[in-house]
């Protein structure tokens, strides 16, 4: 609220842009996106014409703040999309303690660490969103100079994270799961195939109901066998996402899964190298087709690559400044998934 009242340039209502030369609708940023406009219509229908959507984007970037080990935690940042000042982009609104890997390499210890990690994230989000949840239901009166008293209705219109962060926030399994897409129920074996086109979307209410039941069951009895049906049916964890308490995400338009965006710079920075490295052995096997590479057989080549990467490690240290600190322009774009679904994405451009 303070951000929007202290801002010099504020846009309270979004508007739909016109048609492009090819007949398609133009979109430039979040304020004219389908998600924002649909939420705005719902808010104005519920709270009257003197209400507006206070759109908030959340950034969950698991970049540890302190390098010295004094504080192992990572920040949650927020951006109010109604604020059009270029000086204010993202504000840190909370810190979440980091739960590291367990010392003991046993399945129970790994499960305990995973449970702690998921529980702490959700409980921190719940504490962070405590006032936000109430305000998203009732609205907050706000007066701007020379205007009527308006009602600001906060809504979460974006969750910017990498895939691991996204799955953790909505309490879905990260790996070894059948339904790895957060938006739809496409199976692993048909994803990216023509058989995966047109699969049903995830039902937010059913998912949250199942997660809530699973969380209550886990609180009483932490045995993993009781969570198996939830994992098989929804690929979900026995935790309930705290974001589901925000009005508009599990009610009305049920935008919980539609707010998921991703930071292309983050994906490029963290994910591309890993994905390439994972697929490089297969590429070498196919490219060489039984012959040797320039450095010899494929295993020798991989060993040479690993050695080279280790030697270059001191040059590949990621920047101490996470992507959230750079001044940036945000460009909304529409990306088409491999299995044919439309989802929103956020493109991060550095100036």
């Amino acid at each position: 609220m303070g951000m929007i009242q202290n801002a010099a340039h504020v846009s309270l209502w979004g508007e739909q842009l016109g048609m492009g030369p090819d007949g398609t609708r133009l979109r430039s940023e979040i304020m004219d996106s389908d998600l924002f406009l649909s939420e705005e219509a719902t808010v104005r229908r519920r709270h009257g014409s003197f209400s507006f959507v206070l759109g908030v984007q959340l950034f969950v970037d698991e970049a540890v703040v302190s390098w010295s080990g004094a504080h192992y935690m990572y920040p949650i940042r927020a951006r109010v999309v109604n604020v059009r000042d270029r000086a204010v982009q993202r504000v840190t609104v909370g810190y979440i303690p980091h739960v590291g890997k367990p010392v003991a390499r046993t399945a129970p210890s790994r499960r305990r660490a995973s449970d702690s990690r998921n529980a702490i994230l959700q409980r921190c989000l719940a504490v962070l969103l405590r006032r936000f949840v109430g305000a998203s239901q009732d609205g907050v009166p706000m007066t701007f100079p020379g205007q009527h008293q308006l009602t600001a209705v906060p809504r979460v219109v974006g969750l910017v994270a990498d895939q691991l962060g996204e799955r953790a926030v909505v309490c879905l399994m990260n790996n070894a799961c059948e339904f790895f897409c957060s938006h739809c129920m496409v199976r692993r074996d048909v994803a990216g195939d023509s058989r995966g086109v047109g699969v049903a979307s995830r039902d937010v209410t059913v998912l949250l109901d199942a997660q809530l039941e699973g969380a209550i069951t886990r609180d009483r009895d932490p045995r993993p066998s009781l969570r198996r049906p939830l994992a098989m049916e929804h690929s979900a964890l026995a935790f309930v996402p705290a974001l589901g308490a925000v009005w508009g995400l599990s009610t009305d338009n049920k935008q919980l899964l539609n707010i998921i965006s991703f930071d292309l710079l983050h994906v490029w920075k963290l994910g591309v190298v890993r994905m390439v490295a994972q697929r490089f052995p297969s590429f070498l096997h196919v490219a060489c087709a039984g012959k040797d590479t320039r450095l010899g057989p494929v295993p020798d080549t991989l060993e040479a690559l690993n050695l080279r990467a280790w030697e270059m490690g001191h040059l590949c240290v990621p920047s101490p400044t996470p992507p959230g600190y750079v001044f940036s322009d945000w460009v909304e774009c529409t990306l088409r998934h491999a299995h044919g679904r439309l989802s929103r994405g956020v493109l991060l451009l550095c100036c």
């Binding site: 702490i120 409980r123 504490v127 969380a215 009005w247 995400l249 599990s250 101490p320």
Partner: protein, 261 residues
């Protein structure tokens, strides 16, 4: 079972047990008894018995006199939580047949940390005035806290202040046209001149500028000798402490909370 294992029967109230919904009435009567006021022994018609449970519950008359349910031992609950004689659980807002959002909210509100949030910095800290009240000081603070993304370390802050003080001194000596090669007065002596104007520093001050104490008639006080930074932070530690205090002050004004999990 209740006869053979009288001490282990969880269905029989233990000794000196008062029903939970009667504890508030008992606690309300105790001060009255202590003060010698009127005391109702609870035998009035229609009123529940508030007397402690008799010590021998295995007797048949005891079973008839007291209910069989209850007796969960010592349960610490907030006062007034059982005025209606409800079950011995904390009073929560039970949400069963409403939206998913309301149920999720109720689920997380029932967590123990929901009422353990406290201010990270006391509000009184936010009422203090900032020591960085000049543009140059604010610029120095901004650089100290944002350099490299995460700000300078304390050691770097000390070095940074040294550089700032050197720049302040050097700029002034150059602008006043001091003789090249002449001995420069120590900064500490000049600071003491600024603070107290002692005679020891005046001997050196004469080599660079006219001797003048605080409140000289010509208005050329020794405060002009030191810059804003040197005047605000005479030592390196004072700068580090001021930066830390400014961080606490801003956190207090932003109402940051801390929640132990």
């Amino acid at each position: 079972m209740s006869v053979r294992h009288s001490q282990r029967n969880r269905l029989v109230p233990p000794d000196d047990f008062v029903e939970l919904h009667d504890r508030a009435a008992v606690s309300a009567r105790r001060p009255a008894v202590a003060a010698g006021g009127p005391c109702d022994n609870g035998n009035s018609a229609g009123a529940p018995s508030i007397s402690p449970t008799p010590p021998s519950p295995n007797a048949s008359e005891g079973l008839d006199e007291h209910p069989m349910l209850g007796g969960l031992g010592v349960v610490s609950m907030p006062p007034g939580a059982y005025e209606t004689g409800s079950l011995p659980v904390s009073r929560r807002r039970n949400v069963f047949h409403v939206s998913v959002a309301a149920r999720i909210r109720a689920y997380y509100e029932a967590m123990p940390e929901a009422s353990m949030t406290r201010r990270l910095v006391p509000p009184s800290v936010g009422q203090r005035t900032s020591q960085f009240d000049k543009p140059v000081l604010r610029a120095a603070l901004k650089l100290a806290l944002s350099s490299g993304g995460g700000g300078m370390s304390q050691m770097d802050q000390k070095t940074y202040l040294s550089v700032l003080l050197l720049a302040e001194e050097g700029g002034r000596s150059c602008s006043r046209g001091g003789r090249r090669g002449a001995p420069r007065p120590r900064r500490a002596e000049r600071l003491s001149t600024a603070i107290g104007g002692t005679g020891a520093s005046r001997q050196h001050a004469g080599t660079r500028e006219p001797v003048g104490g605080v409140g000289d008639s010509d208005g050329d006080s020794s405060d002009d000798d030191t810059g804003d930074i040197a005047r605000a932070f005479p030592t390196k530690h004072s700068f580090v402490a001021a930066v830390r205090e400014e961080q606490r002050r801003v956190l207090s004004k932003l109402c940051w909370d801390e929640t132990p999990l």
